[in-house]
């Protein structure tokens, strides 16, 4: 019995179109190596300045420690005293820790306000914010992140806002840029006005 080996069977055609698994893995490996050779190295964020805590957990890795701080010891921490306070909301809630960058303290509230104080205070026991911003009537429950002279903050409306970290020279600042990142989440009865207000 003789078979016609010149006539491709459906299985032969499948083999040509779909090479064995090791061949596919090999091709994939070559593509990955070529891609890695030409890929731009990932940007490495600069380490925060010694006096800064510019985002949640201090760095993008969130170590929650600041090795540059040596002032506090178990022996003197009991002597901490309030240097000054700043009120930034009324009938409000807050749960995102403040961040410090470039001599400013950034703190947010559930009322949708970003408040920025001078880290050195104002020479009085109670200080007003140097500038504030109302974020579209949504809740802010995350910390600000400051990098490259820009203060970034997200809200429960799924939006990301950007401000000049130094403010705008006025008591109330408007965001310089914003992006809708995700779905609008109603939170504690608050509804965003987005996009009707824009």
């Amino acid at each position: 019995l003789q078979t016609n080996s010149d006539t491709p069977t459906p299985r032969d055609r499948d083999r040509r179109l779909c090479p064995p698994w090791f061949a596919r893995v090999g091709v994939l490996a070559v593509l990955l190596l070529v891609g890695a050779a030409f890929a731009t190295p990932p940007a490495v964020a600069a380490a925060p300045a010694a006096g800064d805590w510019p985002q949640f957990g201090r760095t993008a890795q969130h170590p929650n420690t600041n090795p540059a701080e040596t002032a506090f010891t178990p022996g003197n921490v009991a002597g901490l005293a309030v240097a000054w306070t700043g009120q930034f909301g009324e009938a409000d809630e807050t749960e995102a820790g403040p961040v410090v960058a470039g001599g400013s303290v950034y703190v947010t509230g559930f009322d949708g306000n970003l408040s920025v104080f001078d880290a050195a205070g104002c020479g009085k026991p109670v200080c007003p914010p140097r500038w504030t911003a109302q974020l579209d009537n949504a809740v802010i429950d995350s910390s600000v992140a400051v990098a490259g002279g820009v203060a970034y903050v997200g809200d429960s409306g799924g939006r990301l806002y950007a401000f000049p970290a130094a403010g705008c020279g006025r008591p109330i600042c408007q965001p310089r840029g914003l992006t809708q990142l995700g779905p609008d989440q109603s939170y504690q009865g608050r509804r965003s006005r987005w996009p009707a207000a824009r």
Binding site: A81, A83, G86, G89
Partner: protein, 31 residues
């Protein structure tokens, strides 16, 4: 903790029924 200061935020109940709670920033330092 930054710049030799401890900074924290707080919801402070005033204790009076007709006075709403306040959100405050506290900055603590060694004397």
């Amino acid at each position: 903790v930054a710049g030799g200061k401890v900074m924290l935020n707080s919801i402070d109940n005033t204790g009076a029924p007709d006075v709403p709670a306040q959100t405050n920033l506290y900055v603590l330092a060694l004397p």
